[in-house]
Amino acid sequence: MAQKGTWTVKTGLAEMLKGGVIMDVTTPEQAKIAEEAGACAVMALERVPADIRAAGGVARMADPTVITKIMEAVTIPVMAKARIGHFVEAQILQELGVDYIDESEVLTPADEQHHINKHAFKVPFVCGARNLGEALRRIGEGAAMIRTKGEPGTGNVVEAVRHMRLVAGEIRRLSNLLEEEIMSAAKEMRAPYDLVLKVAREGKLPVVNFAAGGIATPADAAMMMQLGCDGIFVGSGIFKSENAPARARAIVAATTHFNDPAVLAEVSKNLGTAMPGLEIATILPEQRMQERGW
């Protein structure tokens, strides 16, 4: 009998997205521009993170009308965001038929202690993580894909770089531990023992890991790929820039040809102005989206 919503099917879609760029879009027109530029998926939103940051207040799941229109506009997979812990928003998104749910710190958390039990859903989830323990807690809850948190809506890649380097460094450290040291490591990073053991043995995360949060240029995307990410989320970076179609195409090319400086130099030309950037130190700690999630 055909089995739907299995772990293989959930993680498998993430495998198919690898080497690609997932772009935030707020209208069907933007979704078409993203698809035309070669995006491997789009994230359907009411507002991009830079606007959510500027607006303040409580940010929630997008209006289903917006999501449905975007799903009708393109043939590539469509993702949508639910608030951390808001399992009913996730139920609604699954009912709409979105292809992936991002349980996202970009929206205002709905639960200050618990994330969604993602095993209970047929639709797969992606979650943000700043370090290995956080990534493995999310995978333990059923996330089939991980991304760095970065600091969304800033156009500043520094936090995504920090999170990616930290995860990679922790994996390297785990690989050198003796088996009797794994339990203590699991306790320190507050992560499920079996997943910590698996990472220690295999030397890699058990699911696909994308970069997200602050990516604004082709060079940013290629840097994250060279640091070992499997693919790229671009939030505000495309549609907050001067020439969105050109920048979208360039970031797609840079993600494929991330190890080819000649291609990177070529695609970085004549893109117009990138989105305005924010220095992380100017954002009060309690306003940093990456601090959301537990």
Binding site: K4, L13, K18, G19, G38, D99
Partner: protein
């Protein structure tokens, strides 16, 4: 086992899984991103991924004509999922530029969206009596095949695996399983004269 290098199109998608599968069979592989990478390969795999993304990158980096002429010249090719879409002569309801190499008509996302993705034990007689664990992810279906095409597997009346000479099209993902039989079957096509 096979002394050639198998090129794996590495523009986007699950290309590393195919390389791991080949490595497990003792076969060398190379990632293909530009025309120059196509030199010295003895076979080509077009992996799963997003067919629109892969199609655009094929066009932008001038790979279309080179791949078509190599395969028309006899280079064996395996397409999985998006790879099958790109190999087909006709893509339903789509203006997506493909390679148009196999006499197939395909329908994209034919089983539905991701919540309808599934896995199933699929009888594939050319791979032996044991069924193959077929993983279908937003998979296409082959809705028509020309007279030179041999149908190798069907699911609910739809073709999901087909061969035309040394070209093999599969709508599911053998690279996501540990079962090497489908890749072995493809590598055996290299020996066929």
């Amino acid at each position: 086992m096979v002394a050639v290098i198998v090129g794996v199109l590495a523009l986007q998608g699950a290309f590393r899984e195919h390389q791991l599968m080949l490595a497990g069979l003792g076969v060398s592989s190379a990632q293909i991103r530009k025309p120059a990478d196509l030199q010295n390969i003895g076979a080509l795999i077009i992996p799963g991924g997003e067919s629109t993304t892969i199609s655009k990158l094929l066009a932008d980096y001038e790979l279309f004509d080179r791949i078509v002429s190599l395969v028309e010249g006899g280079l064996p090719v395996l397409g999985t999922c998006a790879g099958t879409i790109l190999l087909a002569k006709e893509i339903e309801d789509s203006t997506l530029p493909g390679l148009g190499l196999m006499d197939l008509r395909v329908r994209r996302n034919a089983f539905g969206r991701q919540v309808d993705s599934f896995e199933e034990d699929l009888p594939v007689p050319v791979l032996g009596d044991e069924p193959f664990r077929a993983v279908f992810i937003r998979a296409p279906q082959i809705t028509g095949a020309g007279p030179d095409v041999e149908v190798l597997a069907s699911y609910n009346g739809r073709i999901v695996m087909a061969r035309q000479n040394k070209m093999l099209a599969v709508t599911f993902h053998p690279e996501l399983t540990a079962d090497q039989r489908l890749h072995k079957y493809f590598l055996n096509l290299l020996e066929v004269s």
